[in-house]
Symmetry: C2
């Protein structure tokens, strides 16, 4: 089972690495990191280089497509007709087409979300309407073969759900134990429904590039 993970400059790394860490442990999974051109891409924080082993020209099919987000997704990839065409082409042959965070905006720009419920990072949710999708505030949204996940860390939950679908409860539970995903954050402010108004304000200000 081939899993293609699209990467690009200014990617939010955890969007990709969360699902990678789960899906790469599925029995018989083969994961490939793919980008418009093969080589190193830099994360949105600048300090991390992730390597794309293959260019989009070299990857013509996948069983699972994962499109992560980040400023590079919502500002650059959405305007890149070559990459959007690749996303559409790959989607034709996938069993599952997925996104994490603002990767959903890339799926939208590729025309794959029209008429569907979808989610993305809470701060960009309304933008899904631009692509004919119906924004939903849920951690993971399944619509046929299209699965969209909320912001950044939600890709871990999405991938465990996908593991459950493709390999069953026992394997998915084992993957959860393998990566010891027994979350215990020191606070409960991980969604705008739970965070204080003050936290939401500070987060928006921290998210704004200076």
């Amino acid at each position: 089972m081939r899993v293609a993970i699209l990467i690009f400059d200014r990617i939010t790394a955890l969007d990709a690495i969360g699902p990678y860490e789960v899906l790469s442990r599925l029995p018989d999974a083969e994961v490939v990191f793919v980008s418009e051109h093969a080589g190193m891409r830099r994360s949105d924080r600048g300090s991390l280089g992730l390597h794309a082993d293959r260019s989009i020209d070299e990857v013509t099919a996948a069983d699972i497509l994962v499109v992560p987000g980040g400023p590079g997704a919502r500002e650059d990839v959405v305007k890149n007709p070559r990459v959007l065409e690749w996303v559409r082409d790959i989607d034709r042959g996938t069993t599952w087409t997925t996104s994490v965070c603002t990767g959903a905006i890339v799926l939208g720009a590729a025309g794959l979300l029209r008429g569907l419920d979808a989610t993305t990072h809470w701060a960009h949710l309304e933008r899904l309407r631009d692509y004919g999708a119906n924004p939903v505030s849920r951690r993971v949204v399944e619509q046929g073969k299209i699965i969209t996940a909320a912001g950044v860390s939600s890709g871990i939950d999405m991938a465990l759900r996908l593991a459950q679908i493709v390999a069953g409860d026992r394997v998915a539970q084992s993957l959860q134990l393998w990566i010891e995903y027994d979350p215990a954050p020191p606070f409960d402010s991980g969604s705008p429904a739970k965070a204080s108004a003050e936290t939401i304000r500070l987060t928006r200000s921290m998210m704004t590039p200076r």
Copy 2:
């Protein structure tokens, strides 16, 4: 504030990227990925290349040190005197020295856990005794400036706790919201205390290299 994240071949990528995603968003944080030699390292699943921008010779000080785990940590780095000496040297100047997963075994091999409570991936917990540490089944264990976290995904929780310590509740809560860390796994089998005996058996068998 400089954060140095040690990487190496056969690293478990999420061990590093979880803390990176949180700590790199701290105001004034500068993150550097460092390895014995600068250049691309491959993850434990083989399919991902992570780039070390700096060699250990180029990084002589850090405020926060993060040592991730993986087979490369517990089998290779623990036997590499140059890297262990670097870990000891950096630790002398850090405000916080941290590990995720079997990165704790590297801290142990460097002699930094003697007499301390510490944690690591549940499947390797007892090995901490080899280094004079007292193994503790907790997600995050704080002992003075040494903070160890449990398996793989626990680095996210550890980093949020560290963010709370260094930047206060408001900033840490905002980082949690920024990365939308509102976990909702489809199961509750993320620790050996919660998983079924059958899941633990299957996980151990999946974790054994063929």
